[in-house]
């Protein structure tokens, strides 16, 4: 009885999930097709030969975009930027959040409110002068220009502070009586207790910066320094009409993030519900 009632729900969900997923399957299928198998009257979600209908996948599109269209370099650039940026950002945000949550000093709360207020300004308003600041710092058209202007995040500081404030204070008091300093308390007590929220912030930062198009677009000129989204954008305009190359490029950009999502799905989805409801 219950199963009969649930059947339409499952059917609806399968349809919606298909809408969600088929574009990715279509992307992968196209990326593995030979150029001459792509443009067919009846599109195929599998890499099949257009004449014989046989299984005929190829890796040549990937080889082409990696070697000749700079996706390989861009991939390494993206990895490099994320490897430096994410840990540095996490450390800066967590230390600031810890101070905002736990260390009383004059002016602290006013400063925090000011920073929260700054978060309300749309990023697009700040775009032009940010580029100008980046230029003045001599970071224009370099990967440090992607890292330094993104080295902290007020939203992450806010989320981390809220979490730190929810931790019980007794452990810290005990450690303080034993003579531990603030920094020791941070590393030995706060960090181990905050692993869930720290990992949420890390993962969402990674997804955001790995995918970010706008900031690299306005800061980088040299194609050798492009990150993946920018290189993909370049590929998509230069090879417009050769969708098999573009889809191979898109797959290179998409697959690492989907892998991260699959591994950390529970953390990410909980984190979104948490941060969404908090703000």
């Amino acid at each position: 009885m219950r199963n009969v009632r649930l059947a339409p729900i499952y059917i609806a969900l399968i349809l919606l999930a298909a809408i969600s997923v088929v574009p990715f399957i279509w992307m992968l299928a196209t990326s593995f097709k030979h150029g001459h198998d792509v443009y067919t009257k009846v599109p195929s979600l599998l890499p099949l030969d257009r004449k014989t209908g046989e299984w005929a996948p190829t890796l040549e599109n990937y080889e082409y975009v990696f070697d000749l269209r700079g996706l390989g370099t861009a991939f390494l650039n993206s990895v490099w930027v994320c490897l430096i940026l994410i840990p540095a950002k996490l450390l800066i945000d967590a230390l600031a959040a810890y101070a905002f949550a736990r260390i009383p000093f004059p002016g602290r709360d006013k400063l925090f409110v000011l920073m929260l207020g700054g978060m309300m300004v749309p990023t697009i308003t700040l775009l032009v002068p940010r580029v100008f600041v980046t230029q003045e710092l001599g970071l224009f058209d370099s990967q440090w220009g992607l890292i330094v202007p993104n080295i902290a995040s007020v939203l992450d500081i806010f989320l981390l502070r809220q979490f730190f404030m929810s931790l019980p204070g007794e452990l810290e008091e005990a450690a303080r009586i034993d003579g531990a300093g603030r920094i020791q308390i941070f590393w030995r007590i706060i960090v181990p207790l905050s692993k869930p929220v720290l990992s949420v912030v890390t993962i969402t930062s990674f997804i955001f910066h790995w995918n970010d198009l706008v900031w690299p677009l306005v800061v980088l000129n040299d194609p050798e320094k492009y990150t993946l989204p920018l290189a993909l954008q370049q590929l998509a305009t230069a090879e417009a009409g050769r969708s098999y190359y573009i889809m191979a490029g898109a797959a290179v950009a998409v697959i690492p993030v989907i892998a991260v999502l699959l591994v950390f799905q529970r953390r990410i989805l909980q984190g979104i519900a948490f941060s969404g409801l908090k703000s």
Binding site: L13, R182, V214
Partner: protein, 321 residues
């Protein structure tokens, strides 16, 4: 909404007689506190506070990368708003962004709520469906744009093929001015996963007793939805509406990708039908080298967003009933 300012100050531990008084703890706290905040503070001043102030200043200047800014007062603002020779597409871009917001935000909310209700109704496989519906969210704009350009391809794209099964003639989605906004809004709804997750959390927050009471009173599913679920979800809907409108008014990356052409010109699609406000702003700043005007545009947007948000706070019901 929790007041973020209510910090829990650790209660001062009184120095009991017989124990060594801790020397200068308060002062040391101040130093350590400022030191820990210092890097974030430097970032905040250099990349948030200063740019905000600078943008406001530049918006009153004539400025490009070759010359230093020269003060022109309100000229950028008045020219943008009233001089349709100098800025012929300003009002067009306002219209495009408003249209996009009006179509995309409700569509996204409905899709998200529908998905959340369905996922919430099942046990087996709910994690899997949640995950699959979330996939489009983590996808880079550049990839989303590339994939959908290919899906919308008038000749070989999957969309036209699928519509063809239902007898719909093939459409030139991204080259027909009338279809550009619906096509973009559909992509936005495709990426509604974050709203779906937040709605799910909201649904989980509805007390089971309420639903059970309604069932005992003989309310059918439609009535339960209208009388209990919708009112209880009102704070969630309000939050998603406000943030969704703010985001939709700033849509840029995706339209940039979709309407970039091989000759590197970005015009905003057929008859500027996809020239959103922020795409227009970007073109002024980084293609036409008119930084002052771009800054003025960004402040017009900021004020507009503030007004729209204030209106929503005033006129949209936000408390759970």
């Amino acid at each position: 909404m929790a007041n973020p300012v209510q910090a829990d100050r650790p209660a001062a531990t009184p120095d009991r007689p017989g124990r060594r008084p801790r020397p200068g703890f308060g002062r040391r706290d101040s130093i350590v506190g400022w030191l820990l905040i210092a890097p974030a503070l430097v970032y905040f001043v250099a990349f948030l506070l200063y740019p905000a102030v600078a943008a406001l200043y530049y918006s009153f200047t004539d400025w490009n990368l070759r010359s230093s800014p020269s003060w022109v007062g309100l000229a950028n603002y008045t020219d943008l708003l009233f001089d349709d020779v100098k800025y012929p597409h300003f009002w067009k871009s306002v219209q495009v962004s408003l249209m996009y917001t009006v179509v995309a935000v409700p569509l996204t909310l409905v899709a998200a709520l529908g998905q959340a209700l369905l996922v919430n109704a099942i046990r087996k496989g709910s994690n899997l469906f949640r995950l699959l519906l979330f996939l489009p969210v983590v996808t880079a704009e550049a990839a989303v744009g590339a994939i959908w350009r290919w899906l919308y391809d008038p000749q070989y794209g999957l969309i036209n093929v699928i519509l063809g099964w239902f007898g719909v003639p093939p459409q030139n989605w991204l080259n027909n001015p009338d279809l550009v906004i619906p096509a973009l809004a559909f992509i936005a709804a495709w990426q509604c996963g974050i709203s779906m997750i937040i709605y799910l959390a909201g649904l989980k927050g509805i007390p089971l007793s309420l639903r059970e009471a309604a069932i005992i009173d003989g309310a059918g599913p439609v009535q339960r939805f209208r009388k209990i679920i919708m009112p209880m979800l009102r704070p969630t809907t309000f939050y998603l509406l406000v943030t969704g409108v703010i985001a939709a008014l700033q849509v840029f990356g995706l339209v940039y990708v979709i309407f970039s052409a091989a000759n590197k010109s970005v015009t905003g699609g057929p008859e500027q039908a996809g020239l959103t406000y922020v795409l227009h702003l970007y073109l002024f700043a980084f293609r036409y080298d008119a930084m002052g005007a771009a800054c003025a545009m960004s402040f017009i947007l900021l004020v507009f967003i503030m007004i729209i948000t204030a209106l929503q706070f005033k006129f949209v019901k936000q408390e759970a009933a």
